[in-house]
């Protein structure tokens, strides 16, 4: 399904396409669930902490870190969550265990995060058409670069911007503006922004006047009012067909 919601916006060949990463290129929740479970199992093996106790304290530590750091890249840091979790469990600063849990989390996460069907094809299509591709993503650079490398996309992008690089999470305008600056397209209007999150990606995309595409799948609600995207889709294969059709028209 691909549906154009904003009929007033003329969709033409883009000057560049910006993509969000988490939950846009792959489904975040199953990987997160599996990784959190792996951490819980490890804690149970190492320290005999029950799953229930772990989940309770983990949520608490996550909320504390988020409240403490606000909308910044570090507020998503699993290492900080696990360090605080161990403190909340009364284990003080168990640095080695915190590092071990972080590695367990990301290893399991990556192993269980297959790209959506058609993601690679869409990148190849855009490359073929010489359309620059950028990544605008929250979280720390280290883990986001690890993710893109693991997906085998390390040499696909023309620009990658993480919220760590600008000191603020999306929808902060700086994230998107830096991406455009890296692509030398600072004053361009015809940019596409593809993401899942109405608050971060759609609002953020609108701040740079981009045509916004929302990727919908299980657990994602469509943005409404000021968060309403210009286009919604649930399948990259269809988006790819749409792009091909758009270029075909242009060629004719």
């Amino acid at each position: 399904m691909l549906k154009i919601l904003n009929k007033n916006k003329k969709i033409i060949k883009p000057k560049a396409v910006l993509f969000d990463t988490d939950n846009t290129l792959y489904e975040y929740e199953p990987a997160n669930k599996k990784a959190t479970k792996a951490v819980g199992d490890k804690l149970n093996n190492l320290l005999g902490i029950t799953e229930q106790e772990f989940l309770k304290k983990y949520i608490q530590s996550k909320n504390e870190i988020k409240a403490q750091l606000g909308k910044t890249a570090s507020s998503h840091s699993r290492l900080l969550y696990f360090q605080r979790l161990l403190e909340l469990l009364g284990l003080k600063a168990q640095l080695l265990i915190a590092l071990d849990l972080e590695q367990t989390f990301w290893r399991t996460f990556l192993d269980n995060a297959p790209l959506f069907n058609g993601v690679r094809d869409i990148f190849f299509e855009l490359k073929k058409r010489e359309i620059p591709i950028g990544i605008v993503t929250d979280l720390t650079s280290h883990i986001q670069l690890r993710k893109l490398t693991y997906f085998g996309l390390e040499d696909i992008f023309d620009a990658v911007v993480t919220s760590e690089e600008v000191g603020a999470d999306k929808p902060n305008e700086k994230v998107f503006k830096l991406a455009l600056k890296k692509l030398n397209l600072e004053n361009e209007e015809n940019i596409w922004m593809v993401g899942d999150n109405p608050d971060a990606d759609i609002i953020g995309g609108k701040k740079i006047n981009a045509i916004t595409f929302q990727k919908l799948h299980k657990g994602i609600s469509q943005g409404i009012n000021e968060q309403e995207p210009d286009v919604i889709f649930d399948n990259f294969i269809q988006l790819n067909h749409y792009i091909q059709k758009l270029f075909k028209k242009k060629d004719e």
Binding site: P30, Q103, R107, D111
Partner: protein, 694 residues
């Protein structure tokens, strides 16, 4: 725990998000819904004739006598002996929903729901079998699986039009294989017993399963755990039904059981050669003789076993149902033109059975198709019948041969190198090398690995002082002639000379173990000095332990690259392990009490180093430098950092071709640099094993 009946955690752990997603996609695929719609329509609209005349009267009888012996009660009340030639498991499984249907029918005075409940049971087992095949196959084309199993005209015809029940024993057999695969031998044995108790013909699969256990070293010791519950359940059943006159008449002496010795060659004087047991034994022998028996081969071989029955006996329509899941397994694994070669078989099956087997009645309307179609044409011609039957059997035989051909092909797939795989492994510290070889046998748990070391071929008596006078690099230290002779004797499966190798030393293995091995490591100083040995070795590895205190990292790297080994191009793989003198590293990277901070690897360029580097960096945050040799032939990697055994396990699944054939639940990876060395060596081994023989 091996004794837990079915460990759900182990089952779900073996399934990652990727596999779950594939299952989700399977059940969301349009073909799944098309198949499901057709099946639901048929179970609502159609009652197969044999349900009407046989199964439903048997299952709907009120059980007022012995609940576990409905056969005798049925016969005593004058029922048809052909009604239910199946065991207690089939009875119990189909009775449940039929009973609920009966209850609803009595409540609202209809006669629909008992029939519906009965047919719904078949749909549930059909769905379970689809899930089971997907679970076992793991990697498959969703479209092919749905086309050849779920939407298979054979399945739809047999289950929903003709109305046979053989799907239940097949479903139980699939669970048995799945449990065996995830090393739950007791559960597997129980389900095998249930399958046999549902339909005794499932016994055909049992010898294949026993051979699979015997030929797979990692699970051989589980065979008793599989056979004891299996034997126990069958024995209880035998004792219980031994005196049941109804069971004996309806099940043991059913017309189908009597077909077993139908096809024979008359040798005169009342002597006959029964063809089915003869061919079946040959099949078992061929299966036993296969070089490596993996799960694919087991499933395909069971399918061929069932096929032999179909081809050598006058088959009933329901028997074809036994082969469909295994035929499906073969088709999703083989893909390509194998799919099309089955089409004539499907066509002849449908033509023959529509013409000569009973059909169904349409519910709610007075329309019946229960007589074979041939009767509607008002002509019976035995020649025509035999012609179509011959075409059916011949096309079945072709599919069977194709399956065997694929089996052999798969077998060749794993014997790209003829005979045993030999790996030369030398270096400056034999203790470390021996530890690595031992650790590899903990990962390749299904392989029979031996280590033939020149250490056992010393000319001197280690207890005497002469040892100190001889330098290890002196070719006179080792009896390399005997070492070479023994190596080639093992390769050629000949006995090794008892006097040449010190068989009394504590590390030595019996002659039999040397001969039964399939991977031979040649280790120790000078083990690769003889050209004949070097030429035969499939993989040559060199490992040196280097001290970091006397040379800088770049100098060591340079030394590695410029070493004679590389110049001579003698080794496929060169490792350099840098000792960490400060021993400040955390628990990882320790080997025999020595800590390592860095690993140098030199290997062929353009093989897998890019993927290895990607995985090491992305999954484990290791630091990796990559450098190509000037002639682009080799690539040098410098790796440092900490890596856990879990990281290596995940990377191994990503990188090792068909890792499910080499790595199992019991595979134990090491952490740190040793784990990376293991990984790189096993990727090479897997690659050699997968090179198809030309």
């Amino acid at each position: 725990m091996i004794f837990s009946f079915i460990n759900l955690k182990k089952i779900t752990d073996s399934y990652g998000v990727k596999e779950h997603k594939r299952i989700e996609q399977l059940f969301r695929h349009p073909l799944f819904f098309i198949g499901l719609t057709i099946k639901i329509f048929l179970i609502v609209a159609i009652t197969p004739h044999i349900h009407h005349i046989w199964f439903l009267p048997f299952l709907s009888q009120p059980l007022d006598g012995n609940l576990l012996d409905p056969w005798t009660q049925f016969i005593d009340k004058g029922g048809d002996a052909l009604s239910f030639p199946y065991g207690i498991v089939m009875f119990g499984s189909y009775k449940f929903l039929t009973l609920i249907g009966n209850f609803i029918d009595n409540l609202i005075s209809t006669n629909f729901f008992a029939k519906f409940g009965f047919r719904l049971s078949s749909l549930i087992f059909d769905f379970g079998t689809l899930y089971g095949i997907a679970f076992i196959a793991k990697k498959y084309s969703i479209k092919i699986l749905l086309l050849v199993y779920w939407c298979s005209p054979i399945m739809i015809y047999i289950l929903y039009w003709h109305g046979q029940l053989d799907i239940l024993p097949v479903f139980l057999l699939i669970i048995c294989i799945a449990l065996m695969h995830i090393e739950k031998p007791i559960g597997s044995g129980v389900f095998m017993a249930l399958a046999i108790l549902a339909k005794s013909s499932m016994l055909i699969a049992l010898p294949f399963i026993i051979i699979y256990y015997l030929r797979n070293k990692r699970i051989t010791n589980q065979i008793s755990l599989n056979l004891i519950p299996l034997g126990f359940i069958l024995l209880i059943n035998l004792i219980f039904y031994f005196n049941s006159s109804g069971f004996n008449k309806m099940v043991i002496n059913s017309p189908e059981s009597n077909k077993l010795f139908f096809l024979n060659i008359n040798y005169g004087d009342g002597l006959s050669l029964f063809l089915l047991p003869t061919i079946f034994l040959i099949l078992l022998y061929l299966f036993w003789r296969m070089e490596r028996i993996n799960l694919d081969l087991l499933c395909i071989s069971i399918g061929i076993g069932f096929f032999s029955i179909l081809i050598l006996l006058p088959p009933s329509p329901g028997w074809f149902l036994w082969i469909v899941p295994f035929l499906t397994f073969y088709q999703i694994k083989a893909e390509g033109d194998y799919f099309f070669s089955s089409i004539p078989f499907y066509c002849f099956f449908l033509i023959y059975n529509f013409l000569y087997a009973s059909g169904a009645n349409v519910n709610f309307f007075d329309i019946n198709f229960h007589d074979p179609l041939i009767e509607k044409f008002y002509f019976e011609n035995n020649f025509l019948k035999s012609l179509i039957f011959t075409s059916l059997q011949a096309s079945g035989l072709i599919v069977c041969l194709k399956m065997y051909q694929f089996g052999i092909w798969r077998n060749n797939y794993y014997s790209g190198i003829r005979g045993k795989l030999s790996i030369g492994f030398t270096g400056n510290q034999n203790i470390i090398i021996n530890s690595i070889i031992n650790s590899l046998s903990k990962i390749l748990v299904n392989e029979r690995i031996i280590n033939l070391s020149t250490e056992n071929y010393k000319k001197w008596d280690p207890k005497l002082t002469l040892k100190s006078k001889l330098n290890l690099k002196n070719e006179k230290v080792f009896n390399l002639i005997n070492f070479s002779k023994d190596f080639f004797n093992i390769i050629n499966k000949r006995n090794i000379h008892q006097n040449s190798i010190n068989l009394n030393s504590k590390n030595n293995l019996s002659n039999k173990k040397y001969l039964n091995s399939n991977i031979i490591f040649l280790s120790g100083f000078q083990s690769l000095d003889i050209k004949r040995i070097r030429d035969r070795a499939n993989l040559k590895i060199n490992l040196n332990i280097l001290n970091s205190d006397f040379e800088s990292r770049s100098k060591v790297n340079k030394k590695m690259r410029e070493s004679n080994y590389l110049i001579n191009k003698k080794y496929d793989l060169i490792f350099g392990l840098i000792k960490n003198e400060t021993k400040s590293n955390i628990k990882t990277n320790s080997l025999n009490g020595t800590y390592f901070q860095e690993l140098f690897v030199t290997m062929a360029n353009g093989f897998f180093h890019e993927s290895l580097v990607r995985n090491l960096i992305a999954l484990s945050s290791l630091k990796v430098d990559v450098e190509q040799s000037s002639n682009l032939e080799k690539v040098n990697l410098t790796i440092n950092g900490d890596i856990s055994s879990e990281d290596i396990m995940v990377i191994s699944k990503n990188m090792i071709v068909n890792s499910e054939d080499l790595l199992f639940f019991g595979s134990k990876w090491s952490e740190g640099m040793l784990g990376i060395i293991q990984l790189i060596i096993i990727i090479h081994i897997a690659d050699i094993l997968h090179q198809r023989s030309t």
